[in-house]
Symmetry: C2
Subunit: 113 residues, 2 copies
């Protein structure tokens, strides 16, 4: 599960990270911001505790720890991040900072001499 | 998503198929038995309808139709199959038929001649 796939979308007011995490619940996933601008998503998928008498005939699903890191653009507002996990898909929304206000032209009063 | 990973487990009384299906709801998945002994699981993952102004920066998550087929063992009871989808993981349980009853030894009464 080290290479769990992700989509990244940019909206006018936000960045959205969509990551497949089948079988994980909200409590199994950690969303953090490191070094002010690195969005780090990590967690662990464990194999189900087996009832007695179970025998694996086929084992394709990956388990273990995984991590994804994304460098956030300069205008990402790291104080405004939300994360939702539904149907095994995590969606992290990072709001954008408002663009800096354009500098108003300075008006110099022309005095009559 | 054509190659969505699956685990197959055998229990004393059942076979269990566990398949990753992140982002799919029960209604998107079809579980069928073909030719009396082929368990067929199919569905389709669609990309979310985009709000206006969305732009993909990265697109790793696969969408589209997928199908997995499993030949069931002879002792699978195709009349007793259940399927549950939770957190993007589908679990299909196929009960086993009871083993045929051992033939009782025939007793031949010995008559006194």
């Amino acid at each position: 599960m080290a290479a769990t796939p992700a989509d990244v979308k940019e909206y006018p007011n936000s960045y959205v990270f969509v990551i497949d995490m089948p079988g994980l619940k909200s409590g199994d996933i950690k969303v953090q911001v490191e070094d002010d601008n690195v969005l780090t998503i990590s967690g662990e998928r464990k194999r189900d505790e087996e009832k007695e008498g179970a025998k694996y005939v086929r084992m394709e699903r990956r388990v273990g720890k995984f991590m994804r890191k994304f460098v956030l653009p300069e205008n990402a507002n790291t104080d405004s991040i939300s994360a939702v996990c539904q149907d095994g898909v995590l969606t992290v929304t990072v709001e954008k900072l408002p663009p800096p206000e354009p500098k108003k032209p300075k008006t110099v009063e022309v005095k009559i001499a």
